[in-house]
């Protein structure tokens, strides 16, 4: 049986990849995908802890987090589509209308 530590390592790696993606990517879709990755790694953490500590509440949290991720994705992508319609681009460098 693998130990908790290896799961945490995997989770950390995925999280880092996601964070890297958010910082480096320009496409809004890619950034949202990276966010999904990060959320996913958090879920992995939650479930791993819950499984190794014999406590189910981590799984409940993971379920909540999944639901929130779905809602967040729906809103995020809806915003992207709306932005695309308005400005004809999803490159976030060009979408800085909220800047001073």
């Amino acid at each position: 049986m693998t130990d908790l530590f290896s799961y945490l390592i995997i989770s950390a790696v995925i999280f880092t990849i996601g964070a890297y993606g958010i910082i480096t990517q320009r496409s809004g879709i890619k950034i949202l995908m990276s966010i999904e990755l990060m959320l996913n790694s958090a879920n992995l953490n939650l479930v791993a802890f819950s499984s190794f500590n014999g406590n189910a509440s981590g799984q409940v949290f993971a379920l909540f987090s999944i639901a929130i991720a779905a809602a967040e994705a729906a809103i995020g992508f809806a915003i992207l589509v709306a932005l695309f319609r308005a400005r004809d681009t999803i490159n976030l460098d060009n979408i800085n209308i909220l800047r001073w």
Partner: protein, 83 residues
């Protein structure tokens, strides 16, 4: 068990890297589905069946579908920035 874990984790990590690294947005999305499936597999290994299938249902079934939808609805933008 260790072998399964190893295979799954390597699969997940490579998919994750490809999500960020892939040039094509659609490929990214497919890799994202792969990464999420891999995580679901890890959940199964952790004996969290319900979370695993909920993950497949919500992430792969809904979120990735949404992503693909968005990609297709913003196709022009993708071509511009696809490099």
């Amino acid at each position: 068990m260790d072998i399964v874990f190893l295979v799954l984790s390597i699969f997940t990590i490579i998919s994750s890297i490809m999500v960020v690294g892939s040039k094509q947005l659609v490929h990214s999305a497919v890799y994202l589905a792969g990464a999420l499936m891999g995580t679901a597999g890890l959940f199964l290994l952790l004996k969290a069946e319900f979370v695993a299938w909920a993950q497949v249902l919500v992430y792969v079934g809904a979120v990735v579908t949404l992503i693909l939808f968005t990609i297709m609805l913003t196709r022009k933008g993708e071509e511009e920035n696809g490099e």
